[in-house]
Amino acid sequence: MTKSRSTGGTLIKDPWDVVAGAVLLGFSLLLLFYLVPNYIGEPPILQNPMMSPRWLPTIVGWLLLVFSLLMMIQGVLVADDGEDSGRRFERGPWLRFALMALALVVYVGLFEMLGAIISGILATLILFIAHPVRVWWVYGLAIAFPVGVSLLFTEVMNVPLPMMPL
């Protein structure tokens, strides 16, 4: 990761927290003033407002607003102590990440059209290329695994999948 460790002298101690807090603040405002009034239906007569379908989402919205503000303040005042190592890592080549994204697109875009086996073979091949597998026979697994896993789902576990192209 490229982010430099913040020290006591910087204005914002943890920019990630500030950004995440700002996004959540925006989301909570959107929820409270647009989504809840427009996308949650309310019955015309209510004996108790706490019974309303809008009551809990509204409470959650206000709490989110308060905690997102606190998160931003935390980001300004408190440095990330580095305990959660998941936040820092050295990035690999962008092409690898792009190929992984392409494999995901193949799965979601072509799964029903090409069927589980063919889309599985395509996506697995892309992923093998993304993180180069240098042993040639391993590429055979890109065919064997989608066939095997599809058959495991459909024949052994009786879970239906689209097997062949439409």
């Binding site: 989402p57 959650v60 905690f67 305990e83 990035r91 690999g92 995901l104 992923l127």
Partner: protein
């Protein structure tokens, strides 16, 4: 007697034995591969249970859970990479032992203490779950309402990292659980007219997305790290060594049981408390951290003592104590079962068949664990570049299989991205999942209480049980605040005196 025969009939199905064995094998294997987690394996196994009988389905997941708990210690000892956070304590003494050529001894001790602790934890589960369920039969909607409040607050207050982030995660989980048709009025909530969302957000795509996809994304984003490997060398553990550590194992198991029975506390805390207790009582505390076999025994006992005990609140109250029990709760729901006190009345045979299976899983763990020690290098040598495409395949097929709809695959990807953002911003995923599960229960019990009490709010303080849970809820909030203040104070002290904090 009739019930006993029914329990045996239900339990003695070949499918159950296969499910436990396969579950433990998968758990140990996945646990011993750095980068793969037992949570991920349990989430991916859930779609496979659709066509299984409920007992076999739950036993498969429990097997993976227990196997994964032990499997994590193998990598902690051999390559100093804990397979799960709970195994972090095991490496304190396990890795120095491996460096001193005593890897096999450490692994065997970890296995034996895991199996003993698991067995004690299972006994506690059998005794306490039924007892607690009997008490919970007196609970009405207001009591359950406060119990859920307590569970939510304790899970958040004990979540690792920032309390604010834990709260945000839980709130987002509750919010997403409300998507769909309102259960009382039938009005749509945040469905945006999409019929796929009317029956609420599917649990399995959420689960797979949150716990498997972020690992895959990170693998393809990170720079390649050198592949570490090691073999279990040296002598095994002697009877005298096991006997010497037995007291620590039993104490650690009981610590694990006590901690596991409280929702949210988890195996990591149990492992460290058990380890410190063993160190405090040892005549040679100076050996701890330098390769003391009793240290490995104590931490593994604490870690595995939690496994059976986390099922106590799940089975008796319907409250998941951690992420894996939340997934197991999902498996119950997939099979039309609702864990809780009523299950002990309506499905007692199923409960006892499960108990028998859970006991058997400890024995199977002993055999599978021994094999894993021998073949660890083969397991750990599988390159992740081959493993992760297969994991992704399971993710996609599993998500699609829920409703035979690509919408669920999209949903899984969306939650995968959310999980990735959570990882990057340090927001914990566990409170999100617990919030997602407890959100509808919270609202349902709130509304039922209001209906029972004819909108009179005093129903929420109607008796000693509600008062008890109110006190626990307030106590857990105060505990959270105390932890928050202490951690800030420590951070400030570290910042003021950087030399000491390192």
């Amino acid at each position: 007697m009739e019930n006993f025969t029914e329990v045996l009939q239900l339990f003695l199905a070949t499918e159950n034995f296969l499910a436990i064995a396969i579950g433990v094998v998968i758990g140990v294997t996945v646990g011993s591969i750095p980068g793969l987690t037992a949570t991920m394996a349990v989430a991916l196994a859930l779609p496979f249970t659709f066509s299984m009988e409920p007992v076999a389905a739950i036993l498969l997941l429990v097997g993976i859970y227990k196997g994964g708990m032990y499997g994590g210690s193998i990598t902690a000892i051999l390559i100093r990479t804990p397979g799960s956070p709970a195994s972090a304590c095991t490496l304190l003494d396990g890795y120095p032992m491996a460096q001193q050529g005593e890897a096999k001894k450490a692994l065997k001790m970890a296995l034996y203490s895991s199996v003993i602790a698991d067995f004690i934890s299972n006994i506690a589960l059998i005794f306490f779950a039924a007892y607690l369920a009997k008490i919970a039969l007196n609970f009405g909607a207001p009591e359950f309402f406060w119990l859920i409040c307590f569970s939510l607050t304790i899970i958040i207050s004990l979540a690792s990292g920032s309390m604010i982030k834990g709260l945000i995660a839980a709130l987002l989980g509750i919010l997403l659980s409300l998507v769909g048709l309102d259960s009382v009025f039938g009005s749509q909530r945040l469905t945006f007219g999409n019929y796929n969302l009317m029956d609420s957000i599917s649990f399995i795509p959420l689960l797979i997305g949150l716990f498997a996809i972020p690992e895959i994304i990170e693998f393809y984003r990170k720079k390649v790290v050198p592949h570490l490997t090691a073999k279990a060398s040296g002598a095994g553990v002697s009877w005298a060594e096991l006997k010497h550590s037995l007291k620590s194992i039993i104490r650690g198991s009981l610590i694990g049981v006590a901690i596991g029975a409280i929702p949210g506390t988890g195996a990591t805390a149990a492992a460290f408390i058990s380890y410190s207790d063993a160190k405090r009582r040892s005549p040679h505390p100076e050996r701890f951290g330098k390769g003391e076999v009793e240290g490995v025994a104590a931490s593994e006992a604490g870690n595995n003592g939690v496994a059976g005990a986390t099922l106590i609140p799940l089975l008796s109250l319907g409250i998941p104590g951690d992420v894996i029990t939340a997934i197991i709760l999902g498996a119950f729901m997939v099979h039309g079962l609702t864990p809780g006190p009523l299950m002990f009345q309506e499905n007692l045979t199923l409960i006892y068949a499960l108990f028998l299976g859970i006991m058997l899983s400890s024995v199977i763990l002993l055999f599978v664990g021994n094999a894993a020690i021998r073949y660890f290098s083969l397991i750990a040598d599988i390159p992740k570049a081959i493993l992760f495409p297969i994991v992704l395949m399971f993710c996609v097929y599993g998500a699609y299989a829920v409703n035979n709809d690509t919408f669920d695959v999209w949903l899984m990807l969306a939650f995968g991205l959310l999980g990735y953002v959570f990882n990057r911003t340090g927001i914990p995923a566990a409170p999100f999942l617990i919030g997602f599960i407890l959100g509808p229960m919270f609202e349902d019990n709130l509304r039922r209480s209001l209906l029972i009490g004819s909108n009179d709010l005093s129903i929420f303080m109607r008796g000693p049980i509600t008062w008890f849970f109110i006190a626990l809820t307030v106590g857990s909030i105060l505990l959270a605040l105390y932890r928050f203040m202490t951690s800030r104070h420590k951070a400030k002290r570290r910042a003021d005196d950087p030399g000491k904090g390192a």
